[in-house]
Amino acid sequence: MMRGIRFPYASSRQTYWEMASRYGVLVAILLAVVVGSSILTPEVLQPSNLAGMSVFGVEVGLMAFGETLVILGGGGGIDLSVGAMYALSQTVLGAMFQAHYGVWTASVGALVMGSILGATNGFFICVLGIPAILVTLATLFAYDGLALVVANGVNISGFPPTFGVIGQSSIAGVPFQLLVIYIPVAVFLWYASTRAAYGYRLRLCGTNEVAARLAGINVRGVRFWAYVAAGLLSGVAGVIGTSRLLTARPDAGATANIEAITIAVLGGTAIFGGEGSISGTALATLVIALLGYSFGLANINSIIETGSVGGILIVAIWGQTALSSYSQRHRAGANALEASDRA
């Protein structure tokens, strides 16, 4: 039944433009990156490298899912602190391990930590009503600082090799973290955001906050859980990252926030909320992972890579803005046409 729900203005002619405005930039940039990287490093598209690339993309991809949920909720929702939560939950894992907790207990501790950090963001944003840009900018630096404090400024290593199963092993050639963590999480989030009541509430909060409130939705509560989800997903990414290198790094994820936001925007999440999809985000993750992996193969410094990601971010938001204003004009024209037909 829920599947039948459409926004009132949707008709076949207009959804075409919506699709174009949502995915046009993504497809263009995907093509550009595929062509560019196969010129840069022709071997990048071999199957063996695809597995390596997905390892690269899983962690930032999980954070991008969290970012997507936060932005979907609207009200100026954005989370600049995902990379810092990734770093801090890693170092909490490391510190707990050093304090002689088992490595798996410590992993659970990292997940709890991630959720607490996300809930802290959510508290300031949704309960106190401070704008998300400001809160997450402040917590970005606070969490990064705490990560250094917890780890005493150095990498924590010495994890048992068995812990590497999450980040280093593979099942039938598919990386463990992709098969066992990323894909199930993606399916769950796809379900939660498109088929479950929570997803509808979140979208409605993003589309029309007043309508959502009048419909009896607890707007602040719905958004709060999106921030908690972003924290938890960053924690999951932190556990994977620690396992992948068998090292907890306090300076990890310094560029993750810009990558996660770029992926979300590129994947068609409207920056003012309400529109966006998990599948779009997953596809955009592939683009950024391909970019990062081929830059790595070509031995280009990661700072340059982040600069390119920044460029993609601006192009993506420009495409989104331009196409959506074009589709709005188109829609206005179509509506006028229909009105004159009726008359």
Binding site: I133, V265, G307, G310
Partner: protein, 327 residues
């Protein structure tokens, strides 16, 4: 009837002004208290002339871009790219110094580079109508990779002593030239923001962008002015930073944006736009630098600096909100 309404409006305005003045006075009082505590508890380390002069230069370095950032945030925008822009200006200046270009020319070039950085942000925001946070987030990483590309993995340390003298060592008596210059600029921007047309347009945009547009106000020009002046002021701050620490690295200036935004927000400017004063941001800059100085003087691990800065922002804004809900 209208006279009554106007009277009520005036009274409300007066109350609002006195409210914001009240906040600034209590902030200033808090800072005086902090200075007293710092002087008493650091066994004279705080009151040493070198420390105080360094503190004044630090305050100038934050307060200058703080004036521009106040305008940007008052227009309901934000600029998180200035840390990377500061790095870029520092690299360009350092490369010119390596070729023995005179200081005055370098200052000019730096201001142009900073201004261009602001023009890029302003153009993307006004002409393409992109959201400021996304644009400046993207530029943050783009400027940073340009810094890296220009440095090519090396660093620059050939900053002439004359720059250090100009920005840090020399001054009017006790006050370093940087500080005196910052006071002049801050007064100018305070005047622009309160009395000049373009300043009032910026606040109008921040209160209601659409209303400002349909009223025929020069929205694009005003926003461009805000980002452009922030860029130029950031460039001057970059030269002051170079005068203090004569080393340019790939990460020069990273995190600078947080200090400036913290100063502006602590100074009472709402991130939602339409309010805020340049003078408040100066008080914010003083608080931010006092705290950073305290972190050094009390020999706290430097890792705590980000935690403390982030905490200050959250506490200041929460206090501001609590006060507003009282009204």
């Amino acid at each position: 009837m209208t006279a009554v309404a106007a009277e009520a409006g005036r009274a409300q305005n007066a109350r609002r002004i006195s409210m914001s003045m009240g906040y600034e006075w209590s902030l200033a009082l808090f800072e005086v208290l902090g200075i007293v505590v710092l002087s008493m508890t650091t066994a004279g380390a705080f009151l040493r002339v070198t420390n105080l002069r360094a503190l004044l230069v630090d305050i100038a370095t934050i307060a200058l871009p703080g004036a521009g950032m106040t305008l940007v945030i008052a227009s309901a925008g934000i600029d998180v790219s200035i840390g990377s822009l500061l790095g870029l200006v520092a690299v360009v200046a350092g490369m010119l110094f390596e070729h023995n270009v005179p200081v005055i020319v370098v200052l000019g070039v730096a201001a142009v580079v900073g201004g261009l950085g602001g023009v890029v942000n302003g153009t993307l925001i006004t002409k393409l109508r992109l959201p400021p946070i996304i644009v400046t987030l993207g530029m943050l990483s783009i400027w940073r990779s340009m810094v890296f590309a220009l440095l090519g993995g090396n660093w620059i340390s050939s900053i002439p002593l004359s720059l250090t003298s100009l920005t840090v060592l020399d001054g009017l008596g006790f006050l370093p030239y940087s500080f005196v210059f910052a006071i002049a600029v801050v007064l100018l921007f305070s005047y622009i923001s309160r009395k000049r047309h373009i300043g009032r347009v910026i606040y109008a945009i921040g209160s209601n962008n659409e209303a400002a547009r349909v009223s025929g106000l020069p929205v694009q020009r005003a926003i461009m002015f805000a980002y452009c002046s922030l860029g130029v002021l950031t460039a001057i701050a970059a030269m002051m930073t170079l005068g203090q620490s004569t080393l340019v690295q790939a990460n020069t200036g990273s995190g600078f944006e947080l200090s400036v935004i913290a100063a502006v927000v602590v100074g009472g400017t709402s991130i939602l736009g339409g309010t805020g004063s340049v003078m408040g941001s100066v008080l914010g800059a003083v608080l931010v630098e006092l705290v950073q100085d305290a972190v050094v003087l009390y020999r706290v691990q430097p890792f705590w600096q980000g935690v403390v800065l982030g905490g200050i922002i959250l506490v200041a804004v929460s206090v501001g909100l609590a006060k507003k809900s009282q009204r």
